[in-house]
């Protein structure tokens, strides 16, 4: 049955994706939930949560708040917290509860801005989509709201969009910086909202996951910044492993898949998430993997997927994917 998972756990939801992009920005984040969604984010999808404090809160909604649509109460709570915490802006992240009661996010955003005197963004995630959808919305809204056109490009500075623990399976951007030989700002990963304001200082942008593409297109169309799509953070030793000639299927986020092919790896690509390549196989459920697995001699992907194909006779090479399984590249992450 479509949407029935019998072997693996659900992937990171859009709520987690939005929170992942917002986590280091310095904004006050309110997950518009009763507690469980924020708990999923903090207790599972946000590896920075244990080592790096962030003002990420649950709205603490109760049934009558939802039934009566008490937006004023939420704005009041938000305003009090803003007075206590002094954030640079606020962000309200949607969950199934506001989706069911059809919360008017535009109105909520305006009310929050009026009450707090701070910029506010409302991200209409609903918990039914995957993390890439939430990341895409958050990146786009942050750039749209905060980009300032007073900055001029700085030579050799690039901006990385799409670097989050969910996409990279790493909890710190320093593990990515070592692959680059130039000044780079990783938006939302080791940088705060000030870098969004200064995005026009970047000579060009590098989109490292599909969730960053919409924001990059927006910046290109409105401010003329060029962008490339690539994932330059692949260990050469890993590429070596894949060079052995075998019919291969790789399952991951699509920019990483594209990067493998760009580096000469012969593989078919598949993903459960957004795509940037036209020929990537779009997986919808567990059965999709089971149906195509036997066409390959080797599968590269998060090891948790192996449960779906227990009888697969070929090689399975583990490529951890936090957004899919919650597994990081390094044990200590």
């Amino acid at each position: 049955m479509n949407k029935l998972l019998k072997h693996i756990s659900p992937f990171a939801p859009d709520i987690s994706g939005a929170c992942s992009v917002l986590y280091e920005t310095g904004g006050l984040i309110v997950v518009c939930d009763a507690g469980g969604c924020a708990g999923n984010v903090c207790g599972f999808d946000e590896p920075r949560w244990l080592k790096q404090k962030a003002p990420l809160f649950s709205a603490g909604l109760r049934d009558m708040d939802a039934i009566l649509g008490r937006d004023e109460m939420l704005v009041e709570k938000l305003s009090t917290a803003c007075e206590q915490i002094k954030p640079r802006f606020s962000a309200i992240v949607g969950t199934p509860v506001p989706a069911v009661i059809a919360t008017d996010y535009k109105a909520l955003e305006k009310k929050a801005e009026k009450k707090t005197g701070l910029p506010c963004i409302c991200i209409d995630t609903d918990g039914t989509k995957f993390y890439d959808e939430g990341e895409e919305k958050a990146y786009y809204m942050l750039f749209k709201k905060f980009t300032k056109d007073e900055y001029k490009p700085k030579q050799n500075k690039i901006g990385i969009i799409g670097a989050t623990p969910l996409n990279t399976s790493l909890s710190e951007s320093k593990d990515l910086k070592k692959y680059l030989n130039q000044e780079a700002v990783f938006f939302s990963f080791g940088s705060d909202i000030e870098e969004y304001k200064k995005v026009l200082e970047c000579e060009e942008l590098l989109v490292i996951s599909p969730s960053g593409l919409k924001a990059a297109k927006y910046l290109n169309e409105n401010f003329g910044i060029k962008y490339n799509i690539d994932y330059p953070f692949i260990e050469p030793s890993f590429l070596e492993k894949l060079k052995e000639s075998k019919k291969t299927l790789t399952i991951h986020q699509d920019v990483l898949l594209k990067a493998l092919k760009d580096r000469g790896i012969k593989t078919d690509c598949a993903t459960f998430f957004k795509t940037v390549q036209e020929d990537t196989i779009k997986l919808k459920n567990e059965e999709d993997i089971a149906e195509i697995a036997d066409n390959y001699e080797r599968i590269v992907g998060d090891i948790s997927l192996k449960k779906i194909i227990p009888n697969f006779k070929g090689d399975f090479i583990d490529l951890p994917f936090f957004g899919l399984s919650g597994r990081m590249i390094y044990e200590n992450n």
Binding site: M1, K3, L4, L5, K6, S9, P10, F11, A12, P13, I15, S16, V31, D33, A34, G35, G36, C37, A38, G39, N40, V41, C42, G43, F44, D45, L50, K53, P55, L56, F57, S58, A59, G60, L61, R62, D63, A66, K77, L78, T80, A81, E83, Q84, I85, K86, T95, P96, V97, A99, V100, I101, D126, G127, T128, K129, F130, K307, S325, G326
Partner: protein, 426 residues
Amino acid sequence: MSSTYFITAEELAKNIEDKKPLPQELLSSKHLIYSSPATLSFNSPGAKGFGVKRAALAIPGSVMLLVAPTCCGRNTALLNEIGYSERIFYLLLDDTDIVTGRHLNKIASAALEIKEELNYTPSALMICITCVDALLGTDMERVCKKCFEKTNIPTVPAYMYALTREKKLPPMAAVRKSLYSLLKPRKRISTVCNLLGFFSPLYDECEIYPLLKSIGITRIGELSRCKTYEEYETLSEANFNLVLNREARFSAQYLEQTLGIPYIELTRVYSPQKIHNQYTLLGKALGSDIDDSKYLEKTLKKIEEFKSKHRSLTFAVGEWLNADGFELSLTLLEMGFKVSEIYATVGDGNEKLISHIAKISPKTRIYSNLSPTMLMYEPSKETDIALGADAAYYHKGKSLEFNSETQPFGYQGLNMLLDGIDEVLK
């Protein structure tokens, strides 16, 4: 930045005495809820310990179908690490489902597909639903009936309704009722009783077992000790239930109504005198004398030894531990120690404890773990040891989490606590 909110025991006791409303910072419904690592177990119990999902699988041989958007099942991957991966299945809802409720028509077919997937027949199927169905007003009894008709597997709802957790029947109370709802009437046996309240057993060393045996009880049932469904079914043979955690009160009432099993409530306390009083009252209620003098004397001796060894200690006490933070704080104060900070939820009948604490230690600071201002919290330097996983998170020095899954109770609990503190201070 403003400082972290706290109130002294003295101020809070005065507030309670004057019958003034509690300060808003102490009321979780009046402010945003800080999801720090210190609050996880009670702000989102699904993420740690026993939330609805794990608790609902307490019936031996049962499996679960979680019917929810992706976001509700994500952290269930943590349960895979502790052996639940073969027992939990997911029917994911899309954006149309959560508005129209069309997913309700798929649940029975999904249940059948799960049955066909397994190479055994589960003893029960728990259908776990979430806030979405709470708002849609889903009739789960009907859904479960349809599942049973299609699969012939007893099917029970588990309501993971976070929206209702401050209601009379919060999710963790409702799930206990679900767990006992498959029990069928049996002939009750006068020498059998059950312990209700926890999803893990008490420590084997707990004195409650020999004390109950001393008054003629031959079998003590605990759901968490049932290895098979047949064993689970024998829980309905009990002559009475002992409720050790008030979240189990509703299920005890349910068992009284459906199976005619009466219940008696005990509370987990750490004051030796209160433990003794409870056993005395329990004996009276059962028409027998419970002689706990051996355990009481041993415990009092241990307290004296502990006090002479650790003459002056200052504690920070949290609420993510196997105790009521206020009761434990009061016990420590009555032993002559100091309590500098308490992280706890005010309410639930702990007002009297706060008044007592205020009399002994008026300057003890009381914090709300859930307050957004805890983001700026800096622990005091006067504390020698932190008790509870939340207090241990704040205080990076010596700490005892004291939140094991196996449950401490009575004199055994107090002795274990003192041993634990002693070990940490070595």
